[in-house]
């Protein structure tokens, strides 16, 4: 089995509202899987189903090849978007309690907690109450609670909200480290910058339905539309530009006569860029010739627009 989690036609209604409609996903092991979508797309509902907080009306969920059962809870770590801790409970006690709820023994939890406290630079907070900590510190504790029982599957819902850039970076490194150690990670967000950096696979939910999923690089390839950024060094840029604009669809262009530098972006009818490159080399000195790859954000927007267009 190469998938840690498979959902098969999962559907969930709340009254008349459909939160998830026939969503099937395959989440590969040992990778970071981005679960994307605008607010209200159904991400949280899907995550809650995986955590067995709610149950699907239709469809099945498989965890590591087995139908999802209550005992799988101990193998899942979940950092919800709406998160918090008992304010008046001491840090040490609280983490031990939550770890024990995940099935860890007290002594084992204590041992691992020490490791994490050192790793995340958390000193003598053991006897501090959560309400005495800053928000960022509390978030670190929250992160430890999520990973302490060394789950096979980690689910982070908007993990970086509430962190300052330095701590956000530290947490990002920890997430990558956990993946390298063998964990599979579901990463739910609507902030696309972090997706580019982290995710190997993505799925896009929109209005309760999955509209796109797969390996991010494959999706990007599929969403490329033969647009090239070109930089040329030439004496007669204006003439060349005119010549090119008769043959190609040029979106932007700029000619700096002083530097003899012509920059332009154009779209080819097909992915075959060889003839164009050959032609350009014969006419000018080619400084750069790059096919632009759409950002996750662009893909996201286009996918949503396409979807809306079909309706």
């Amino acid at each position: 089995m190469n998938n840690i989690l498979v959902t098969n036609g999962v559907t969930k209604h709340f009254g008349k509202h459909t939160a998830l409609n026939n969503v099937s996903l395959e989440i590969p092991k040992n990778s970071i899987y981005g679960l994307l979508g605008p607010n209200g797309a159904g991400k949280t509902t899907l995550i809650r189903i995986i955590n067995q907080i709610t149950y699907p009306d239709k469809g099945e969920v498989f965890f590591d090849g087995e139908a999802l059962k209550p005992h799988h809870i101990a193998m899942i770590g979940y950092l919800p978007e709406e998160r918090g801790l008992y304010k008046s409970m001491k840090v040490g006690e609280q983490v031990l309690y939550l770890a024990q709820l995940k099935g860890l023994s007290k002594s084992e939890a204590k041992k691992r907690l020490k490791y994490w406290f050192e790793r995340l630079d958390i000193g003598d907070w053991w006897n501090k109450k959560i309400q005495e900590l800053s928000k960022g510190m509390a978030q670190k504790i929250q992160f430890i609670v999520t990973v302490l029982h060394e789950p096979k599957l980690l689910i982070f819902d908007e993990p970086f909200s509430g962190f300052d850039p330095i701590n956000a970076n530290a947490i990002k490194d920890e997430i990558l480290h956990l993946r390298d150690k063998g964990a599979s990670i579901i990463f739910s967000t609507h902030r696309m910058e972090s997706v580019e950096e982290l995710c190997e696979y993505i799925a896009l939910l929109h209005q309760s339905e999955k509209i796109l999923d797969g390996r991010l690089s494959d999706i990007k390839k599929a969403y490329k539309n033969n647009i090239f950024d070109i930089g040329l060094e030439t004496h007669n840029g204006d003439a060349l530009l005119k010549e090119l604009s008769e043959k190609f669809d040029i979106t932007t262009s700029a000619y700096d006569a002083l530097q003899k530098q012509l920059d332009l972006t154009l779209q080819l009818p097909s992915n075959d860029s060889g003839p164009l490159l050959a032609y350009l080399t014969s006419k000018a000195n080619v400084n750069n010739f790059i096919e632009t790859v759409p950002s996750a954000n662009e893909i996201f927007i286009r996918a949503v627009q396409n979807k809306n267009g079909y309706e």
């Binding site: 907080i53 979940y78 919800p80 709406e82 998160r83 801790l85 008046s88 309690y97 024990q100 709820l101």
Partner: protein, 446 residues
């Protein structure tokens, strides 16, 4: 591994370590004892103030009827006129002067007798004086009418109707009320416990919602487990608190009474206590040791084992039913101010049970209202306990009613906990809007 004990333990510790809980636990008995001791002490101080009342008796009808008591003593003036007597009374700082003039007949005496004092006299003093005065004059009148002193003593005998059951068992008057009162105390305890600790459960649920830890927890345990753990943990904390209250209040009373040298019966025998609880139906406090013994004997005949057993059953089931409703309310709202509209319908059956209990069970423990309310599950824990001191079976609660009441309570318990758990499960993840009853009903089907 079973997670319920973990949750119970946390809820228990979170409760008993809470500062305000600790303060309440240890301060309440001290405050309560201090209050009672203060009242008893002040009463004693008050009584210690000796009053001296001067009596100027010119008539032949009185000789030495006014007897010195613990708080009042009497000084007889002789052979002085009224004005001099008034002056001396006020000069000597006496409380007042009772003047009984010389007159030919009783009516004249009654008409012309006066009590002079600086301020208006206290009713206690006046009523004592009046009773002696009236008694003496009545006696005199009867003598005039030819009744001898022996006959007069014979008049004083009380005439009463004795009561008995058809089976021939003699009953003491008011014993039913005393019994219902004892049951009522148990019922009252249940109500207080439900209101106080049910509220704690609710607040604890709201706290988990507002601190947003709830989703972290229910990704590890079932909402139902969390709810039950919370309810049980809070109940244990409540039992601990009650136990500390009872033990420490008892100890403190002993110590305080020893220190201040107060006779505990001053407090216990306060008739106002009993009558304020039971209204007009409160039993008359029997006078005379013999009567008291009779009542005590009757009280020892109470089915104590049955009472305790049913107290535990009704307590547990009643508390579970109500506190799971409280938990559901806590889950449905975002903050405590939104709870009002839901709390009222819970408190109502409890209040109803107490009032119906005190009025209809006291007057007729087996009347239709009493039976109805002792079967209805939301009121039965309180009302049935008021009826039970009469025992089960003949003269008491019919066995079928007792069993039916417990069965109904059990069925309600299952149904309510199931419903509450559903509302709880949906509610804890809902933020931002104040739900209506209609929405709560919709949640049941999610």
């Amino acid at each position: 591994m079973n997670k319920l004990p973990l949750i119970i333990r946390r809820e228990y510790l979170a409760k008993v370590r809470n500062k305000s809980f600790v303060i309440m636990t240890f301060l309440s008995p001290i405050l309560m004892v201090a209050m009672v001791v203060l009242i008893a002490y002040l009463t004693k101080l008050n009584d210690n103030e000796k009053r001296v009342i001067a009596v100027l008796n010119e008539s032949d009808y009185f000789s030495n009827e006014f007897l010195t008591t613990e708080s009042t003593s009497y000084v007889n003036f002789r052979d002085i006129d009224l004005e001099t007597a008034k002056d001396s009374t006020s000069n000597l700082g006496y409380y007042g002067l009772l003047y009984i003039p010389k007159a030919s007949d009783l009516e004249q005496v009654a008409e012309k007798s006066f009590f002079y004092s600086k301020d208006a006299p206290s009713t206690a003093v006046l009523s004592y004086l009046e009773s002696v005065f009236e008694e003496r004059l009545r006696q005199r009148r009867l003598v005039q009418l030819g009744v001898t002193t022996e006959d007069f003593a014979a008049i004083d005998e009380q005439f009463e109707i004795n009561i008995s059951t058809f089976a021939g068992e003699q009953n003491l008057k008011g014993i039913n009320e005393i019994k219902a009162f004892i049951g009522g105390a148990f019922g009252y305890l249940i109500m207080m416990f439900i209101i106080i600790y049910g509220g704690f459960v609710m607040r604890s649920v709201i706290e988990e919602k507002t601190s947003r830890i709830i989703e972290v927890i229910i990704s590890s345990v079932k909402p139902f487990q969390l709810m039950m753990g919370k309810i049980i943990g809070t109940a244990l904390a409540g039992v601990t608190q009650f136990a500390i209250w009872v033990v420490s209040a008892g100890l403190l009373f002993l110590i305080a009474f020893a220190i201040f040298d107060i006779d505990p019966t001053v407090v216990n025998s306060d008739p106002n206590f009993a009558s304020s609880m039971g209204g007009d139906m409160a039993p008359k406090i029997p006078n005379g040791n013999e009567m008291a013994e009779e009542y005590l004997k009757e009280l020892f005949k109470l089915p104590l084992a049955l009472l305790l057993f049913s107290f535990v059953i009704y307590f547990i089931l009643g508390y579970l039913i109500y506190s799971s409703i409280y938990a559901a309310i806590g889950a449905a709202v975002d903050n405590e101010t939104d709870t009002q509209q839901f709390i009222f319908p819970i408190i109502m059956p409890l209040m109803l049970a107490i009032y119906v209990g005190f009025f209809s069970v006291f007057s007729n423990p087996h009347g239709p209202i009493a039976v109805g309310f002792s079967l209805f599950p939301l009121t039965s824990p309180i009302v049935m306990l008021m009826r039970l001191p009469g025992g089960i079976g003949e003269n008491g609660v019919p066995l079928w009613q007792f069993i039916l009441s417990i069965l109904l309570l059990l069925a309600t318990f299952v149904a309510i906990v199931w419903l509450a758990a559903k509302i709880y499960r949906v509610g804890i993840l809902m933020y931002g809007k104040k739900p209506t009853y209609k929405e709560l009903f919709k949640w049941l089907r999610y």
